[in-house]
Symmetry: C2
Subunit: 206 residues, 2 copies
């Protein structure tokens, strides 16, 4: 029986082989390859979009012990908290925070939106991870465009049929470092995989 790290190494070799020739520089490929590993979906090669500063900014933020805030608990538990601890960082999801329920009720907005509002103070220089809710990403874009927050990185990978593709198209136009994709696909699993690739890179020597 192979050990988990052997299985991962063999999987990465298979992905390298099947992916064929591509234009991703080595650091970007580490992210794309892990997304393909998590999804078994080579379409990601064609649809992922990485802002030119995304990886440098995300890795530096992780090394500085930044906050990583997710829109879902699935993304939160999918991120390797144990490997973050050495940098002093932590992952949080505010969806079950009582301030979110209060804000949502008071302002008549969804919890997904209210969770972004509550996260804002923690988010300067941090990483915001959207794996599910287009409304969370749209709210964050509103705040960024109004100059109220500038995260080190936005991982914007909501999935679905209503507003997911549209919200990601808006993120593509933002000058804040981001990793996103075109189209409907996405999800908490791939969003967590992106962050985990950056955490692995943060632990490697330059």
């Amino acid at each position: 029986m192979m050990k988990p790290n052997e299985i991962e190494r063999l999987s990465f070799q298979m992905i390298d082989g099947e992916a064929g020739v591509h234009d991703f520089p080595p650091d970007q490929w580490q992210v794309v390859r892990r997304v393909i590993h998590t999804s078994a979906d080579f379409e990601w090669q064609g649809m992922i979009r990485l802002h030119p500063e995304a990886i440098a900014s995300g890795v530096a933020a992780i090394r500085s012990g930044c906050a990583i805030i997710t829109d879902t608990n699935m993304a939160r538990v999918g991120i390797r908290q144990r490997d973050l601890t050495r940098f002093g960082g932590a992952v949080a999801c505010y969806m079950a925070d009582e301030r979110v329920a209060e804000t949502a009720a008071r302002e008549g907005i969804t919890r997904a939106k209210a969770a972004v509002d509550v996260a804002l103070p923690a988010l300067a220089g941090g990483i915001y991870v959207v794996g599910n809710a287009p409304t969370a990403l749209l709210r964050l874009i509103e705040h960024m465009e109004a100059g109220r927050v500038r995260p080190a990185l936005v991982v914007g990978l909501p999935v679905g049929f209503v507003n997911a593709a549209e919200s990601k198209a808006l993120l593509l136009g933002c000058d804040v470092p981001h990793i996103t994709n075109v189209g409907r696909k996405g999800g908490s699993n791939v969003a967590a995989a992106v962050v985990n690739a950056l955490i692995v890179m943060a632990g490697e020597k330059d």
Copy 2:
């Protein structure tokens, strides 16, 4: 702004429209549609495999308040625990259980395997959900074939390049009710979506 339940209803309408003509009976379609909703991937229409007794057995087990045991914390938090509570059921993942670490160390096996062994007593008449680890599914199949356990349903959707497709091909040959797929795709998100579809059905009138 649409409310979350309106977004879900509209998404389901879009999926119904784009899926076109298919052979799934209405109860199976509820599962397949939710998987497509979660993944935005219509390939699931062609690759999902539902044992003829899977839905009836899974829904009856949920109504009886059965244990739902997952191989990952991502699948655990993706399952709608709140909607299960009314039936008396609960979701558990044993990966962080200290008995699993002990069993793995004592027997020289992976934690994924040890987690299946530790779960066995709770699993008779329950639902086992694999979203990530082929080794967990292979271990469960060993126990089922040896007659040591018979779950009400196995949701076997490990993802990946090493042993995922092979483990699911073995599950397809088992006479225990199962929901699985052919090929490499899978994941904790789709595994949770399958269970959530069954939880919704369990809450509906017959």
